[in-house]
Amino acid sequence: MNAATFSAVVYGISALAGFLGALTGLGGGVVVTPVLTTLLGVDLHYAIGASLVSVIATSSGAAAAYVREGFSNIRAGMFLEIATTLGAVAGAHLTTVLPGSTLAIIFGAVLLYSAWHSIRARKEGPATKSDPLAVRLRVEGSYPGPEGPIQYRVDRVKGGFSLMFVAGLLSGLLGIGSGAMKVIAMDQVMRFPFKVSTTTSNFMIGVTAAASAGIYLSRGYIDPGVAMPVMLGVLTGSLLGARQLVVSRTRLLRLVFGGVVGVLALEMIYRGFRGGM
């Protein structure tokens, strides 16, 4: 394949991944890597480098819309970013220690989990009492409701902080945003309201990704020939997808896309065990 064809194919695939990733809330980067590696035979290191860059693009692009709605909790985000950025640095360093096949297996497992998480129905359960640490850190807040601001409390700060380190570790290890795990830490463990969890985690994704980006760049994972079509494609797709968000965020679409991602995940795990990455 020549460079022009390669770029066009990768751009198209990335745009589709970004579009579906935005519609389903799974994110585009997480799908690009398995497609590049299993279908186009791109080395895993180039794929995670390109995907990490596209994660920053989609997170910053979407953040522009969220910021204006006033849902994100900047203080909670900054506090938790200490955990995610340290995790990301550790994860990025681990990529040089772990063999590609092991990375592929971990990637597949995380992908399977994310697919399941996106398909599963969510249950709302805001915290009723606050962790004393949350009070001391002043991470409680309010978000705009139909009849004025709605106050919320925050639970289990240490548990959430620890899980954020793991989310950062996976982000740096696999070049993904690990949005699903960030949302779980905020939504399930710390029991932030769901809207606050998703928007704040989106704010954190870009900063977390930037923390491993420097290490990826030094190590040469960010190759202009691969990162260019991936970044432009995922960005185009996710901008188009974000416009459709309100109308077509259907359960069927989530099921179909979740299924496709599940198959890609199994393929990656299979290749990892066979040692073909």
């Binding site: 692009g61 900054m78 506090f79 704010f203 930037a210 260019m228």
Partner: protein, 122 residues
């Protein structure tokens, strides 16, 4: 300036940053493909790109005599700079609000970012 105005400004800044970096990457990409679009693209084996493309300082220095890969890399660095800028803006905001606890937390995050971006990792 009200909080809402500030948030709106940050939102617009983010969007402008993303569009600017995408425009630079696109320009570099078009140039790259015009130059060597017919060359074989083989990324099946990992070979790190040239050292001039692997550090922010060298990429910036390379802009004096730009070539397509350098321009793409510069665009990607602009993108990486967006979340870093956001953290710096938070530091300024926390300092103005006289919130030392959060200013220190923000400084820790900035230190981690600086470690990743400013130091070469072999």
């Amino acid at each position: 300036m009200s909080d809402q105005q500030l948030e709106k400004m940050i939102g617009n800044l983010l969007r402008a940053g993303v569009l600017l970096s995408a425009a630079v990457v696109l320009a570099g990409g078009v140039w790259l493909l015009l130059d060597c679009g017919r060359e074989r693209a083989d990324y099946s084996r990992f070979q790190p790109p040239a050292a001039s493309l692997r550090s922010p300082a060298r990429v910036a220095a390379g802009l004096a005599h730009p070539n397509p890969p350098d321009l793409i890399q510069f665009g990607l660095l602009l993108l990486i700079a967006i979340p870093v800028t956001r953290v710096i803006l938070c530091l300024i905001a926390f300092s103005f609000e006289r919130d030392p606890m959060y200013a220190v937390m923000t400084l820790i995050v900035l230190a981690v970012l600086a470690y990743s971006l400013a130091i070469p990792h072999g």
